[in-house]
Symmetry: C2
Subunit: 267 residues, 2 copies
């Protein structure tokens, strides 16, 4: 995860500059914001992970949990990292992202090497069944992206329009769709750690408002093949001000590459 | 979470003694071990959470992630805790459990108050459909519990025998069953943080061996009513040496009280 010659906004905006061992400087930009004006939680997580990855010889984040404490803001940030254990198969560490001296998020992760990982294979769930992206519609095509800068970085394709975008929430907080970074930036594990939080919340189909993420756990299961990513999002339990959102990302070869669950809390 | 007059083994064995602020002494016992001889990961997590809970005014763990680094062992342990943020609705902190000076697990958590939490309610999934516990069988009844000390603390009831226990794995890595602590110790959130890891791994029904947990995230959604807990476990993706296991716990009133996912790694 080098900072050199990064040209895509995702690589530019997750770049970290080493100050001292375990201490990095970064800049949170305004290119990853939803309507709140605050940077997306997956983007902040990717920034934390990128700094953390600098400290271990293991190339791949495989399990990541981020605890969100305060909304981030565009502007300077510090990332403090610690490798708790550098093992043979896994390294474990954490990264804290601070802005103006206050901790915004804390991310803990195991890193490993998914290239060489082997073991028994049992695949008991199916990838989303979607028409080819070219046969799908762009749900953002007729939408104003004012204040939704994240939509300038990520694009989506769906078989049908989202009900909530038509003013008619379906009542079913689940969806399947294609997603990718714009501009030909192919997916990698770091991008997946952002993209699991980059789609419209499933609770919008219940007529509920979006809610800040308080915790996000992601398991990265394989390095993704280049191309579109098939995604599935679902919420099943909205209760006491909290709800979970499950997110799966499958690559174009039909391999599950990321699965996440977040807990969100209504304001 | 007081240490006083604890009489059940779960309360005794998760007790922590304050040494200084943020530093606790504990004893990991041999009463929570599976066949490996190492203490169960959910038990270690409950120990970490109990120490962490001492440092916040918020009574309830609501979201917990534990990263497992090394197997624990019966014997003394230290727990180092840090509250990163004490907010109005949530407090956030982490606990590190060390044995012989080496970090065994690290647990991060949000604490809140589930008694007073309110918000929209949408319940889109159903509790396990199980016969009453009295009409079920005890899957451990004819089993030797030698080396399986955890089974002396937890009991189970199932509608049918588990296939893997009959030497005939079903091929379906999923199950529904009742579970509770033995001895009349009613469930609370701390017990749930243990119980999500206290059942037989679903991959045994694939004919695969048990695998150590490397990460476990649990969302605690409501304080459980007294009584048996209805549980559902499922694994869907076994790949590259890793697999996830999803676990749900519902109380006798049909309320989802805990949902967890763990990532396990074959040795």
């Amino acid at each position: 995860m080098s900072n050199a010659s990064a040209s895509h906004p995702f690589d530019q905006d997750t770049a970290v500059d080493k100050v001292t061992d375990g201490h990095y400087a970064a800049t949170v930009t305004d290119r990853w914001s939803a309507l709140t004006g605050h940077p997306n939680g997956g983007y902040l997580q990717a920034l934390a992970l990128r700094a953390l990855g600098e400290g271990t010889a293991h190339p791949d984040p495989v399990s990541v949990a981020t605890f969100y404490q305060r909304p981030g803001n565009p502007g300077p940030a510090e990332v403090h990292t610690e490798i708790a254990r550098e093992g043979r198969r896994l390294a474990t560490g954490e990264a804290r992202v601070l802005q103006q001296g206050r901790e915004v998020i804390r991310t803990m992760a195991h890193f490993g090497d998914l290239r060489n990982a082997t073991g028994p294979e049992h695949r008991l769930a199916a990838a989303p069944e979607l028409p080819e992206p070219a046969e799908c519609l762009d749900p953002l095509a007729e939408l104003s992206l004012d204040g939704l800068s994240i939509a300038r970085q990520v694009e989506y394709r769906t078989a049908q329009p989202f009900g909530f975008m038509q003013g008619a929430p379906s009542g079913m907080p689940q969806a399947e769709f294609w997603m990718r970074l714009r501009g030909g930036r192919e997916p990698d594990l770091l991008a997946l750690a952002f993209l699991v939080d980059a789609a419209a919340p499933a609770v919008l189909e219940l007529g509920e408002p979006p809610a800040p993420t308080v915790e996000l756990t992601t398991h990265l299961r394989a390095r993704p093949a280049p191309g579109w990513l098939a995604c599935r999002v679902q919420t099943r339990h909205v209760s006491r001000g909290f709800h979970e959102e499950d997110f799966e990302i499958w690559d174009v070869t039909g391999t599950l590459v990321a699965q996440s669950r977040q807990l969100a809390m209504f304001p």
